[in-house]
Symmetry: C2
Subunit: 311 residues, 2 copies
């Protein structure tokens, strides 16, 4: 095979109560990576479309190629020559798992180019290295769902233990991206290192409730469990109008609403696509009233994750 | 109706990772409460069997009758006269939910005597008042499962939000009670009020894993998730031979093993009754090697909770 194209979807990490342990993928948008073999050895980024020139073009510094270099090193392949085109279809630093989508599309494309020596699950640690380059922390709550699809739980990081749980058929995600930017490193920096035992217990109760709610298809329980007493109270101060936008979502049909990843994007979960759209429009409108333009995506939960696209 | 008899089972609270939010009931042992109407108003404890004279006989100070008084007050019944006999069939301060079993048997018996004005679920806040008297804290992780049966999750205490999740058919509990005593108030007192964010995340991952493992009937995941990085490291120092007994359980077929409630009882979960027995015998033997006698109970998860017994 001489060329390949792969798509990896945007993701919502944390999902209210599940900081660093929950994430799910949506249908759209997603990044696309094109790979073509070339005669000289080495990986070269020939073009990045949609990043406004902001991402590094050096293959050793960009998440999309760092994951390929890790994969090639693991497979002891030294002489591969390859040109990379990255189509960035989502904003950077948006809380939509932008760096994860690039890393996952990159590693899936490279694995395909090589004839799929590794399984999807085996690609995960390589994709996580992309996150380390992009955000300083090799977390899996974006790359996991972007790679595998579905609602992903990371039970443990050492050793890595990740699994998916079923989601109800009629669950839809609203993702609203206000046109402001938060650096993931900053968003981690402001978190406190200690949590009260009381808040830990409350958060564990909501984690248990969200898993059970999704698996039982109990929409009310899903909504009641979308409560984050640890991270949201701190990070939401970085998002103008957070409380009002959240209230707009819930008053307009959403089961619950919180920050997507490190923000500033906000997500809601709703029963039925009509509620998801109505909630999204209300959120967008509330941002607009404060003079903030916001992009809107309404989507089912993506069950399949990254895809190799037809040549 | 002039007399009634009710049984409420022993329970395992916390279940490794789920401090204050998880609990399940076992089949045996359990406390039995007998109520008989009498002509004079007022609730009188006429006999307690099996407590070696240690529980208060004053109806306003014993969990078994405090719950009845709360229920009568709620129902605005002032003139009821009633004699109470309590059969204590499990040791006090054992971590087997002894006070919860008495409180639940008491409130279920009284509700039955009155013709069941309240549902099972509605009795929960009254049973929790029994825990407040007995341990200083109105937690629900023992009274919930003793009352309702099954594997119980307390998502939230304010407002109270409790639900049950299915457990795999072939899951068995081993409960080993070493002949030492820990006061629940002391066991709470030694806990730290702050938890590191890192440990909070690890614990949330295990909470999610245990709920998903139980609901998927994924026994390996259940075992991997029975990890408590917050409470067990502190409370286990109160239990002699804790590490060795835990290791004996896991080396002899248990999926996982931890402290039952506030201890000193230890529980294990296993796939199949044979593994549960083998693990229990190994745990008992390990305690015996340290000169500690230990009682052993092997049981399926109790699906029905408290029962009114035939007259």
């Amino acid at each position: 095979m001489n060329s390949v194209k792969a798509f990896a979807p945007a993701t919502v990490a944390n999902v209210a109560c599940g900081f660093d342990i929950f994430g799910f993928a949506i249908e759209e948008p997603g990044d696309v990576v094109e790979l073509s073999r070339r005669d000289e050895p080495g990986i070269v980024i020939t073009s990045i479309i949609g990043d406004e020139g902001r991402l590094p073009r050096n293959a050793e510094k960009n998440a999309v190629t760092v994951v390929m270099l890790h994969l090639l090193k693991h497979l002891r392949i030294k002489d591969l020559g390859c040109e990379v085109i990255l189509h960035k279809n989502m904003p950077l630093g948006s809380g939509m798992g932008s760096s994860a989508a690039s890393a996952v599309a990159g590693v899936v494309a490279m694995n395909e180019l090589l004839g799929n020596p590794l399984t999807r699950e085996e690609l995960l640690p390589f994709a996580m290295e992309g996150e380390r380059i992009a955000s300083g922390s090799a977390h899996a709550d974006n790359v996991g769902p972007s790679l595998l699809g579905g609602f992903v739980v990371i039970r443990s990081y050492t050793p890595l233990d990740i699994f998916t749980i079923p989601v109800p058929e009629d669950l839809y995600c609203t993702l609203v991206h206000p046109d402001i930017e938060i650096n993931t490193k900053d968003a981690r920096f402001i978190l406190r290192n200690e949590v009260s035992l009381k808040n830990t217990i409350a958060q564990m109760g909501n984690v248990a409730g969200l898993v059970a709610g999704l698996m039982k298809a109990d929409y009310d329980l899903i909504g009641r469990s979308m409560v984050d007493v640890i991270i949201e109270p701190v990070r939401s101060i970085l998002i103008p109008e957070f409380k009002e936008v959240k209230q707009a979502a819930i008053s307009n049909g959403a089961l619950g609403c919180s920050i997507s990843g490190a923000g500033p994007s906000m997500f809601a979960l709703s029963r039925g696509i009509d509620n998801a759209r109505k909630a999204g429009e209300a959120m967008q409108k509330r941002f607009a009233e404060a003079g903030i333009e916001a992009g809107l995506h309404v989507s089912a939960i993506n069950k399949n994750g990254a895809m190799v696209l037809a040549e």
